[in-house]
């Protein structure tokens, strides 16, 4: 199991959590995109930029997932 699949700070149990309500981005979709080196996804590039309410969560998750990916 890769680090991005099982980062202790962001367990896969959180994958169904809706991270960005405006573009319907889940934690699981973000995890998959970061793991594949495809973040930001073309259809989710506005994540965190519309209502802005999720911007803190999005930055938090991207940092964890990118750090976990770099450590692999």
């Amino acid at each position: 199991m890769s680090a991005t699949e099982a980062s202790p700070a962001l367990p896969t149990a959180l994958d169904p959590v809706l991270l960005c309500y405006c573009v319907a981005l889940t934690v699981g979709e973000l995890r998959s995109a970061v793991r594949a080196g495809r973040w930001p996804l073309p259809d989710k590039a506005q994540a965190g930029k519309l209502c802005t309410g999720c911007a803190g969560d999005l930055l938090h998750c991207v940092r964890i997932l990118e750090a976990a990916g770099a450590a692999r």
């Binding site: 309500y21 519309l50 209502c51 802005t52 309410g53 999720c54």
Partner: protein
């Protein structure tokens, strides 16, 4: 809850002793055909500890929040989150919630306000046209027997919120920095005057949108006489 429908999370604050009724769909049609598909109501104490998380009938129309939460709330204010799913084809923008708030037994008139939307509410494909994490409230020039403050809540799941509350007294401004943990909330009191100058306006700046209301409490009774959202004047 479904992630295939459009999602919106709105927030308010509930205090013991108040009747609090929430219109789930404010901009209803004559035919009454605008409906939300799913609704969960969750409440959190000041430290962000969950008090309840309830599935609620989305066809409730007007939700008696005081009755719904009575068994779950402590004797202090709670942040209440409304997590809804809806079909964006039947709403022109988003399903705004509005609410009535009135202290039981108080002679003060009830307050009617728009519930803050905190997460979601922008139709897909529509760009944001204004900042919503830099907001302002302008106070009346004449003195009132009120104590003012900002009630701020962080609806995020993981991230602390850092915010600045800037109060203006004439040309002078007083800045207070606050840090709020996920799901926590706090009230930032605003001094009514400074060096003889009255509180003129307040600004709220944060990295991301917070649940925010400006509140006024009667100087003698403490009853809420103002409960309103801030506004964005800078585009």
């Amino acid at each position: 809850m479904s992630n295939s429908l459009t999602a919106l999370l709105s927030a308010t604050f509930h205090e013991p002793g108040y009747d609090h009724s929430v219109e789930l769909v404010h901009q209803q049609t004559r035919a009454g055909d605008r409906r939300i598909d799913e609704l969960r109501v969750a409440a959190y104490d000041e430290a962000g500890q969950a008090l309840c998380d309830l599935a609620v009938d989305p066809a409730a129309g007007v939700l008696d929040l005081s009755a719904l939460l009575r068994a779950h709330l402590p004797d202090r204010r709670a942040m209440v989150l409304f997590d809804v799913r809806y079909d964006e084809a039947i709403f022109p923008y988003r399903p705004h919630h509005y609410a009535f708030l009135h202290r039981r037994g108080s002679a003060a008139p009830p307050l009617y306000y728009a519930v803050n939307s905190v997460l979601g509410g922008f139709p897909r494909g529509l760009d944001a046209t204004r900042m919503n994490n830099f907001e302002t409230y302008v106070f009346l020039g004449r003195p009132l027997r009120e104590r003012h403050g900002l009630v701020l809540g962080n609806a995020s799941r993981f991230a602390d919120a850092e915010a600045q509350v800037i109060a203006y007294y004439g040309a002078e401004r007083i800045t207070e920095s606050v840090r709020i943990a996920p799901k926590a909330h706090r009230e930032v009191p605003l001094a009514p005057e400074r060096d003889g100058r009255r509180l003129a306006r307040v600004e709220l700046k944060s990295l991301f949108r917070l649940a925010n209301y400006v509140v006024g409490r009667h100087a003698d009774t403490g009853d809420l006489v103002l409960f309103d959202h801030l506004f964005t004047y800078f585009k």
